[in-house]
Structures are given as structure tokens and as C-alpha cells.
């Protein structure tokens, strides 16, 4: 295979992977909003498309670095760069296939776990166990356990606060209206803080912690002002019954939309790496003819990944969300907001720390967190069990399939470099 052929095939597989990410995970961000009626299906697609793309391009570089060279020490491929190329291609193909399969069966499989499993798999094949950067692996695996817990805690706390300060009042509608600006301010502050902390690599924006804090506080105040101005006006009176709760929910609708947008942004940031990381490794190696240690992730690759995600969600994700919207009536805007707030913050933080989290599992965690605060009628813990199951199954499965693909690609290609 000539270098060009390799690049083209890699590009195609990479786009297929990105498409899968968009198709499957979009409901992570938008599912609860469509379920609660805060957004129509079309609106959800537009919002998701826009924000997934921005997240991928603005923040996606951090996690991409980890997936590209943080898991496996590139040194082991120095003697034969082709193995890196075929391996990464295999990783993309196997993860995408696994994802496609599991979405068909409705399993809560993690995109991220698939790629990490696949990459580690062929890393061990080539370089033995010492090829894996175990400290990084440890950090990654810990984040898989920690992220649902953090999401859950945040979701729990946010909903408990809403419960005590708004729902418990005689007139929840009025209470929600009065506190609206506090929530917008907080949302703005936390999102800015996490986004700006460590700066924005691709915009070459470097910020110290103090600067990030200051800028975020300023944006937080801006958020409060916007909230004060835009606070929804409703005419419901105080009746301690259905009317008050309905008014409160409609107030939270806009908040839920904003947090859903944030989750979409965070998801784009975190998950684009699953497609782009291996692509960048291949492209870098083909271009330079050797295994590169320090190469920045070029922005056009992120744009490509982002575009793939958007196409995925617009074509297939659309259909998935349509069925979800019909089936979930449990989620009201107040619950949705709390759950998504928890998920958004956790995922964004993970992205900034370069940790490839499972956005799926984080959302499950935050939904459970709200459930613990008595937010939902009934939740099915069996899903939690199937997640634990998929943790055990996904990594060896993805690793195994990747190794198969690796041998296939090596068999087909003689030399690419």
C-alpha cells in the first residue's frame, strides 16, 4: 500500500468511527432534553451539531494526545513504523464495529473504552506488557470509575438544592423565577472555569489559574445579568399543587437546554479523540516516515473528526433520539437540568485533564444521583449491572478484534512508509 492509500483508508475508517460516535452518543447530551420536551428533535440536532463541533475543535486536542501516545509508548514502533500504522487503523476499525454492534443491541457500551482497549491490545501484542504506559492507564481506568461517581454526586447535590429551595416552597413557580439568575450565573461560571482552566490549546490561548478564575467569575456575573433579564414571566398563582410545579418546570426548561448544549460541547471535546487520536498517529507517522514523539494535533484533523460526528448525529442519531423521546416521560426539565449539569461538569473536567471518560457512564451516574435525591419514580439498576458487565467485556473484545484487523491490514499492505 502506498502512503496515499493508507491515508485514504485511515481517513475513511476514522470518519466511520466519528460517525458512530455522533450517531450513538448524541443521545447522551440531548436525550434527556428531548425526553422532557425542552427541545424538539430538530432543535436538538441543530444545537448538538453546533456544540459537538465546537467542543471537538476547541478542547478536543487534550484527550487526543492521550489516546494517540499516552497509552502506548511509541518507542516500541520505532523499528517498524508500519506496525503503528496498521495497529491504529485496526483500533479504529474494531472500535467502530464494536460500537455499531452494541448500539444495534442497545448495550450501554462506551466508545472510549473500546478505543482504549483496542489500542492497548495491539500495544501489548507488539511490545509486550512493558509497552503500555501503566501510569496513564491507571489514571484512565480510575477516571472510568470516578467519573460516574462525580457526575452522580454533582447531580445529587444540584437536585437536592433545587428540591429544598424551589420545589419545597409553597409557590415553586415564583421561587424558580426568583432564583433563575443564580443558576444561569453558576452555570456560566463553572463552564467557563473548566473550559478556560489550562487555557485553550488550539486557539493558542494560555491562561494561568488565577486568570481563568477571574475571567470565569466575570462571565459568571454576565450569566447572572442575562438570567435577570431573561427570567421567564409566568402568571401562575400560589397553589402548592400542580400549577406551581408546572410553572417551575417551564422555568427550568431554558436551563436544561443550556446544560444540554454544554454536555454536547463537553462530549465533542472528550469523544472526538476516540476517532482523531488514532488518525493523528497514522497521519503523523506516514508523513514523517518515522514514529513521531512530539507532534501537535493539527486543527484540520479535529475539524474532520468534528464533521464526522455531526454527520453521524444528523443521519442516525436523529432516529435514535426519536424513539427515546417517545419512551421517556420521566424526565422533567428540573431533573434533566440537574443530571446534565452533573454530567457536563464532570466530562469537561475530564477533557481538560486529558482523561478519556465514558460520557455514557457519566450520564448514567448523574441520572442515578438525581434518583438518589428522590427525583425519579423508578430507576432500573440492571442498567448499572450491564455497564459493569460491559466494562469487563469491552476491553478484551475490542483488543481482540483490533488484533485481528491488525493482521489483516499487515497482510494487505506491504509497506506504507
Amino acid at each position: 500500500m502506498t502512503p496515499t492509500v493508507v491515508l485514504v483508508i485511515t481517513g475513511i475508517i476514522g470518519l466511520y468511527m466519528a460517525w458512530n460516535i455522533g450517531a450513538n452518543d448524541v443521545a447522551n447530551a440531548m436525550g434527556t432534553s428531548v425526553g422532557s420536551g425542552a427541545l424538539t428533535l430538530k432543535q436538538a440536532i441543530v444545537v448538538a451539531g453546533l456544540l459537538e463541533f465546537c467542543g471537538a475543535v476547541l478542547v478536543g486536542a487534550y484527550v487526543t494526545d492521550t489516546v494517540r501516545k499516552g497509552i502506548v509508548d511509541p518507542v516500541i514502533f520505532a523499528s517498524d513504523p508500519n506496525t503503528l500504522i496498521y495497529g491504529m487503523m485496526g483500533a479504529l476499525a474494531s472500535a467502530a464495529l464494536w460500537l455499531n454492534l452494541s448500539s444495534y443491541f442497545g448495550w450501554p457500551v462506551s466508545t472510549t473504552h473500546s478505543i482504549v482497549g483496542a489500542v492497548s491490545g495491539f500495544g501489548i501484542l507488539i511490545g509486550g506488557f512493558s509497552a503500555i504506559k501503566w501510569w496513564t492507564m491507571f489514571k484512565i481506568v480510575s477516571s472510568w470509575v470516578v467519573s460516574p461517581v462525580v457526575g452522580g454526586l454533582t447531580g445529587y447535590i444540584v437536585y437536592q438544592v433545587i428540591r429544598k429551595t424551589v420545589i419545597a416552597k409553597d409557590d415553586p413557580g415564583a421561587a424558580a423565577r426568583k432564583q433563575f439568575f443564580l443558576w444561569t450565573g453558576l452555570l456560566m461560571f463553572v463552564v467557563s472555569l473548566v473550559t478556560l482552566f489550562k487555557g485553550l490549546k488550539n486557539l493558542k490561548l494560555k491562561l494561568s489559574s488565577l486568570q481563568a478564575l477571574a475571567l470565569s467569575s466575570g462571565l459568571g456575573v454576565l450569566g447572572m445579568i442575562i438570567g435577570k433579564v431573561l427570567a421567564p414571566r409566568t402568571k401562575w398563582g400560589k397553589d402548592g399543587g400542580e400549577g406551581g410545579l408546572k410553572a417551575m418546570e417551564s422555568t427550568f426548561t431554558s436551563l436544561q437546554v443550556v446544560t444540554a448544549a454544554t454536555v454536547a460541547f463537553a462530549h465533542g471535546a472528550n469523544d472526538v479523540a476516540n476517532a482523531v487520536g488514532p488518525m493523528a498517529a497514522v497521519i503523523g507517522t506516514v508523513r514523517s516516515g518515522a514514529v513521531a514523539q512530539k507532534v501537535d494535533v493539527p486543527i484540520w484533523i479535529l475539524l474532520l473528526g468534528g464533521a464526522g460526528i455531526v454527520v453521524g448525529l444528523a443521519t442516525y442519531g436523529y432516529k435514535v433520539m426519536a424513539t427515546i423521546g417517545q419512551k421517556i416521560t420521566e424526565i422533567t426539565p428540573s431533573r434533566g437540568f440537574a443530571a446534565e449539569f452533573g454530567a457536563a461538569i464532570t466530562i469537561l473536567l475530564g477533557s481538560k485533564l486529558g482523561l478519556p471518560l465514558s460520557t455514557t457512564h457519566t450520564l448514567v451516574g448523574s441520572v442515578l444521583g438525581v434518583g438518589f435525591a428522590r427525583g425519579f419514580r423508578a430507576l432500573n439498576m440492571k442498567v448499572v449491572r450491564s455497564i459493569a458487565f460491559s466494562w469487563i467485556l469491552t476491553i478484551p473484545a475490542a483488543a481482540g478484534v483490533c488484533i485481528v484487523f491488525f493482521y489483516i491490514f499487515r497482510f494487505i499492505g506491504i509497506v506504507a512508509v
Partner: protein
């Protein structure tokens, strides 16, 4: 992302409320049943007793539906055990009603003195009232969950539960008067009749007791 809907289980409160309504129907069949018995219209008693049995059977079907919707892995804002406790107490209401019908068909009862008959009717009405008030408590569970067990709904519900307590206490008093009146006329009753009537009085009283049990267990939900 098809797993997202699977994360949410069906509300167990809906079938629970349906079951309580059916249990109330069973209890509400007792006044007609008792009136027929006191009028010594035994053909009618047999028919009405059979009908009550059928209603209790329907209640059992609804009870199964609730249980089917409570798999081990379910996570609710109330504990599974507490919820099943409420269901159990509701079930006893339906059972008591059926048992009253069965007891009245066991032997042809002789005429009952007016004083006793009046108090029997009063006890039946008082017990049915307790059951009806309990149903209104159970019906509010869904709204309670919507407000996440907070807010003015909780106070209102506690008020209703206290009302049920008072009504049950009033029914207890009537049961007491009935027993005293019955023993004032004890010589007019055959021994076999005394045995059956005692069992029947107990069952009528239990209609109210079990209804109060239901609300007592619902109080557990509200403890924070």
C-alpha cells in the same frame, strides 16, 4: 443509545393506586351484603357474596401486576419493602371484604335485634368511610413523587393521614358499642350464631384497621 429508556423503570405507583381502588370496591360491596343478611334475604346474600369474591380475585390480579413491576433491581424514592408493605395492607382490605361474604353464607342467621342491627350497619358504614379516605391518600402518592416528597403536598398528606386515624378511632368506638349491645342480647343468639357474628364483627373492624395500616405505612415514605 437505546439504553436510556431502559434506565427508567415503569412507575410502581400507578398499579398500586389501581389496586387500592379495587380494594375499595370490595369494601363498598359489604353494606349491601350486610343489609341483605339483616333482612334475611339469603338468596341475595349468596349472589352478593359471590360478587365480592370475584372483586377480590380481580384485586389479586392487580396485586400481581404491582409485584411484577418491582424487580429486585429497581430503585425508587421509597424502599421496595415499604412499598410492598403498603400493598400487603391494601390486600388485607380486599380479603376482609371477601371473608365477610363467606362468613355470611356459612349458615342461615336468625333475626337480629334492632339495636344490634343498627350498630352493625353503623360499623360497616364507618369502616367503609375509613377505606375511602385511605384511597384518597394513596391516590396522592403520584403527586407526591412529582414534588419529590417535598413542599406543601407533604403537609397536606399528613393531614389526610391524621384524618384517617381519627376515623379509624371512631370506627373502633362503634365496634365497642356493638360488642356491648350484642352481649346485652346474648340470650337471643344460638351459640353457633355468636361464633359467626363475633368473627364477622372482627372482620368489619379489620377493614378499618387495615386501611389505617396502609396510611401508617405511607407515613414511612414521608419520613426524611
Amino acid at each position: 443509545m437505546a439504553w436510556l429508556p431502559n434506565l427508567f423503570a415503569k412507575s410502581p405507583f400507578t398499579p398500586l393506586i389501581a389496586h387500592q381502588r379495587k380494594a375499595q370496591e370490595c369494601a363498598e360491596a359489604v353494606p349491601a351484603l350486610m343489609a341483605a343478611a339483616l333482612a334475611e334475604d339469603y338468596a341475595n346474600v349468596a349472589i352478593l357474596a359471590k360478587r365480592t369474591s370475584t372483586l377480590e380475585f380481580e384485586a389479586d390480579a392487580l396485586k400481581t401486576k404491582v409485584r411484577d413491576g418491582l424487580p429486585k433491581g429497581i430503585f425508587m424514592p421509597v424502599s421496595r419493602g415499604d412499598l410492598l408493605g403498603v400493598l400487603e395492607a391494601q390486600d388485607e382490605i380486599a380479603d376482609c371484604a371477601e371473608d365477610i361474604g363467606v362468613l355470611l353464607t356459612m349458615r342461615q342467621m336468625e333475626a337480629v335485634p334492632d339495636e344490634v342491627a343498627t350498630l352493625i350497619t353503623e360499623l360497616v358504614e364507618a369502616s367503609v368511610r375509613v377505606v375511602q379516605k385511605t384511597t384518597s391518600v394513596v391516590e396522592r402518592l403520584d403527586g407526591l413523587v412529582k414534588s419529590s416528597f417535598s413542599g406543601p403536598q407533604v403537609e397536606k398528606l399528613l393531614g389526610l393521614i391524621n384524618l384517617v386515624d381519627r376515623e379509624e378511632h371512631a370506627a373502633d368506638k362503634v365496634q365497642d358499642q356493638l360488642a356491648k349491645a350484642f352481649f346485652r342480647h346474648e340470650d337471643t343468639f344460638k351459640p353457633a350464631a355468636i361464633v359467626i357474628w363475633m368473627k364477622i364483627f372482627r372482620k368489619i373492624g379489620n377493614l378499618a384497621n387495615n386501611a389505617e395500616r396502609v396510611t401508617r405505612r405511607i407515613r414511612l415514605f414521608l419520613a426524611e
